[in-house]
Symmetry: C2
Subunit: 362 residues, 2 copies
């Protein structure tokens, strides 16, 4: 096969080294004569996999000891329901910052479970998307059970680097699409959750970090398999977890550790994003509509001068081994998702192609 | 590697041909230059996989047109919450038949969501586990929103072949561990659900068949990603599904079709179970405590005359390539799970070993 680069927003590409190892041991894992997906989650062999993955994730993100690390079902969107069901009662209020489609989805789902208040939404200023900074005042800190935001919006390509100031209110972040892409201070958060299918592993897995102080806030009606306290008490094995996804997540964590950890990948991610945004900004052809302070390092959204060119761009990109560049239907145009697993050479190949395409059609 | 046979109750072995194909196309699926787990669930390529899997499952089980086939998150236990949340309101009542650990778990979880009434429980008569037949009378048919039972109990090795008579009440079956092992008449059920990790694929996937008439019974508070109507409306892609598990399920369905379908595998399953139960019954050494009418064809539970021999049995079995035979901690002893993917030769190898072990230690 010729080299292809897969810019899919998710399920996204996984590190090549991880995929190669997974393939090599697919039929006979650790000499057991079967796949790791064919053994009991309660076997000592799988428990070792599970514990190592948790430990490696703790190391990578420097997770404080008083946080539970959960591996569960349902992906990121499952947490749209799980968060309100675990952190507050029906009569309580929670605050929402809406910066794009995903945070809007979380806000909408939460309305079923409590009094959800949208405090801030992104806006367009001089044609550039920007997100007002949010800081809860004293009165708000009394009022809200938690403050929810999405750290990176895959659809719009909007990333929030400057944390909302929640004061004494637990800060809850959907980091589905930028977890492990840069250093974060976990201690500033009440809950961090992430669907796996961008920077962690295959779809179907949700990783949740929860401050232990929040484990007893769940309501009785929370489905047991989504209940943080129940999950924590049972080492995420109250029910059979998605074991193969957990195993692959573990391989990704190990790959990241061996590649220098989060600090090293953050540098590479910055480099990749710079290269691509420069290519856009330095052309008169491509446009990006996000204010530089909020441009995502994971999902780079850009438009061609004329949408009639979109299908030609996609077809020629495909011919050059550059896959899955079509933007989300909500915003149109193009989107290059350049998560941790995308090598710099992939982005360089894309920018070269983009420059060539602009020369021909500009 | 030498031949091993994996009797794990779940996550269980998958058909060897399926695993070999999955390994061969692990890094480059259909010439895309990446794995099927690395492509968008909304790509035409994955949608083709998803639709083929659904169609094959419909063919295998002869699913009537007026049933939705859903592929979701959360496994079988996720459905312990999803079923009451989708089929009844808080003030309604539902009936439960308890034949072992799994149906007891479903009954317990349902108590959070409605008035759950346990009508029948299994009992031991002359040292043999038996399950009273349940038939709802007229008054009960007025009273209950649904009747739930578990078609096969993996822990106790108890299978119910004679359907409970629910009359006009929707019959709900947990078929996690015996779906696709024998012919069933889907039209007799309101809902059939199954965690994938026994006869379908890897863990993390739940397959649900729902009569369309029941799709509008869900309550507003049902988490959207578990809501049957929402799942059906969105082709099980309201949120990113566990795509790799869905793909593997599709390969398993295709393997089953190519092997003669459910009727053919049912014959083989009967043959395998007969062989193993005969080995137990014809010895003075091994014992099984389930009444012949309720013996599971999927999970054969047996005890040695003296539990002190258990660890020796397991160690010697392991040396002979016979893995994961330890019984569930609730019932002790041994358990051989012989799902569709277990070949007859695996069971024959086990019975030979058992006879030899009995000769030495009897």
């Amino acid at each position: 096969m010729s080299t292809t680069y897969n810019f899919c927003a998710g399920p996204a590409m996984l590190p090549t080294a991880v995929m190669q190892q997974a393939q090599a041991e697919f039929l006979d894992w650790h000499g057991l004569g079967c796949s790791v997906m064919e053994i009991s989650h309660r076997s000592k062999e799988f428990i070792a996999v599970a514990e190592q993955a948790e430990q490696d994730l703790r190391t990578l993100l420097n997770v404080p000891k008083d946080y539970a690390v959960l591996f569960g079902h349902g992906g990121g969107r499952g947490q749209f329901s799980a968060v309100p069901l675990n952190l507050a009662q029906q009569h309580e209020s929670a605050a929402f910052l809406t910066s794009g489609s995903w945070s809007a989805g979380a806000y909408q789902e939460a309305q079923k479970y409590l009094n959800a208040i949208e405090l801030v939404t992104s806006s367009s200023v001089n044609g550039q998307v920007t997100v007002p900074h949010l800081s809860l005042d004293k009165e708000q800190q009394q009022r809200f059970a938690y403050l929810h935001y999405c750290a990176n919006e895959t659809v719009e390509g909007v990333e929030i680097n400057c944390l909302p100031e929640a004061g004494s209110v637990p800060l809850v972040a959907d980091m589905s699409s930028n977890i492990l892409s840069k250093n974060i201070d976990v201690s500033k958060f009440g809950v961090i959750y992430a669907g796996a299918q961008k920077n962690i592993g295959p779809s179907g897995l949700a990783v949740v970090l929860v401050n232990n102080d929040l484990l007893d806030k769940g309501r009785d009606s929370t489905p047991s398999f989504l209940n943080y306290q129940n999950m924590a008490k049972n080492g995420s094995m109250y029910n059979t977890p998605p074991t193969y996804a957990w195993y692959l997540a573990g391989l990704v964590f190990r790959w990241l550790l061996n590649s220098g950890g989060v600090a090293a990948i953050e540098q590479q991610n910055q480099q990749k994003a710079n290269l691509l945004y420069q290519c856009i900004d330095q052309s008169d052809f491509y446009r990006n509509h996000v204010h530089p302070d909020f441009r995502s390092r994971m999902n780079v959204v850009f438009h061609l001068p004329n949408p009639d060119l979109d299908s030609l761009f996609l077809a020629e990109a495909e011919k050059n081994g550059l896959r899955a560049l079509k933007g989300h239907r909500i915003v149109g145009g193009m989107r290059a998702s350049i998560y941790n697993a995308m090598p710099l050479i992939g982005v360089a190949t894309l920018t070269e192609f983009m420059q060539e395409f602009a020369r021909k059609h500009g």
